[in-house]
């Protein structure tokens, strides 16, 4: 095996090795997201997003129709603004309700969209006005205990 062939093979080896490191850093470690599915954007603001993460699915009737693209806090209203990318061929009515749900007890958090009866459809960049926040179990339990205690107090 002559020297230039060895150089070539070592070059290929080092190149794909660094390619693998880049893959681990960019694709697995998420320094860069490559998403090229055609679609349009919708926004919704929630009081509490619970455990919602970037790229979480957006589902309508249980079918995935899009992904969460960005989550940020509105510094004025202290609400979370969630931007979603929805598949191009799925349109939602203006009175659609967006809610944050969890699939199963330990499953991932997703956004559910329930379309209403309006005839006007939401366009790219528009806001979903009717939203329902994530259910925080600690709050539910706290509420339950508080109600119990006040019931017990009322009976005495």
């Amino acid at each position: 095996m002559n020297r230039s062939t060895i150089d070539l093979w070592v070059g290929i080896f080092v190149a794909i090795g660094f390619g693998a490191i880049l893959f681990l850093a960019l694709k697995v470690g998420n320094l860069l997201t490559l998403d090229r599915t055609p679609g349009y954007h919708l926004q919704a603001s929630f009081d509490n997003i619970g455990g919602l993460k970037l790229r979480a699915p957006v589902k309508a009737a249980g079918v995935i129709v899009g992904r969460v693209e960005s989550i940020r806090l509105d510094p004025k209203s202290y609400e979370a603004i969630v931007a979603m990318r929805i598949d191009r061929d799925v349109l939602f009515t203006r009175d659609t309700i967006a809610s944050i749900n969890t699939s199963g007890l330990l499953g991932e958090v997703y956004i559910g969209l329930d379309a209403g009866g309006d005839t006007v459809m939401l366009k790219d960049g528009e806001q979903i006005t009717k939203t329902q926040s994530a259910v925080v179990i600690e709050k539910l339990i706290g509420q339950f205990l508080f109600d119990k205690a006040s019931d017990a107090g009322a009976k005495k």
Binding site: F13, A25, V28, L54, P57, L105
Partner: protein
């Protein structure tokens, strides 16, 4: 009777003591050898084609076994992980399970073990045979330092190849997990990648894996060249040196992995 037993005990103790001091002396020799390699490295790097040739032999020729093993380890991990996760309805977490276990543990450790048995043994056998056929002595006669000409290029080739091989192992493993998990078992592709990207951090997760593989590469290469250089110049000596390389470097990888993991958990964790 009692005196005989005492004599046996004395023999046993002497042997134990001999093994301990022998082990410590070996460690000292290894450290001295490492310093000698680093001392002679500039001379070795001046003739870069020697190192490139060794990267070809230990890195490029290990590619097939590393890539295949990575793919299959990823596929098996995916099947087994899915089996448990789906019981709790958490099969979307498959991506992060596979990626974290590959990038932080399995990639560096398994690639290191494969590297030790594929490339480390070959290095030991080659250097040991060079010694047995007195090629190393011949080099010294011609005023060529065998550490600069033979040992250092092989050592550095191992140190350079190992992180690249471990990264390839992890990448192929994640691809294998994707094939099984998403294509066959039907985990949602977006959740697979999304959960993975939400859970794996470049620093410290990916970088810890690279640090581990660098340390393993150094340890395996040092043990391989040292065992070859230190081998008894007979056929039997070379064969036992080759065996020792595989055994000692596998144990070293597992022990170092534990130590490094403890450091990384305590240090940059959380």
């Amino acid at each position: 009777m009692a005196i005989e037993a005492l004599g046996d005990l004395g023999q046993g103790l002497r042997r134990l003591g001999g093994a301990v001091t022998g082990g410590i002396a070996w460690l000292g020799y290894a450290a001295r050898f490492m310093v000698a390699i680093i001392w002679h490295s500039p001379a070795a790097f001046r003739r870069l084609h020697l190192t490139l040739r060794e990267i070809y032999f230990s890195g490029v020729l290990s590619l097939v076994i590393i890539l295949t093993s990575g793919l299959f380890v990823g596929m098996v991990l995916s099947l087994q992980g899915y089996e448990v996760l789906v019981r709790y309805g958490a099969d979307e977490q498959l991506g992060i399970l596979v990626a974290l276990s590959l990038v932080k543990e399995l990639g560096p450790v398994l690639a290191g073990l494969l590297f030790a048995s594929r490339a480390g043994s070959a290095i030991t056998a080659e250097i040991g045979l060079m010694k047995a056929t007195e090629q190393l002595s011949a080099m010294e006669m011609m005023a060529v330092d065998p550490i600069a000409r033979v040992v250092a290029p092989r050592f550095w080739a191992g140190v350079i190849s190992m992180p690249l091989l471990a990264a390839l192992f992890s990448a192929l493993g994640i691809f294998g997990a994707y094939l099984i998990g998403v294509r066959i078992l039907g985990v949602d592709a977006g959740a697979f990648w999304g959960q993975m990207q939400a859970g794996v951090k470049v620093w410290p997760d990916v970088s810890n894996g690279i640090i581990k593989s660098l340390v393993f590469g150094t340890a395996v290469s040092l043990i391989a060249v040292l065992d070859g250089y230190d081998a008894k110049p007979t056929a039997e000596g070379v064969s036992s040196a080759t065996t020792r390389t595989v055994v000692v470097s596998s144990l070293a990888i597992l022990a170092l992995d534990f130590v490094l993991t403890v450091f990384m958990f305590r240090g940059i964790g959380s």
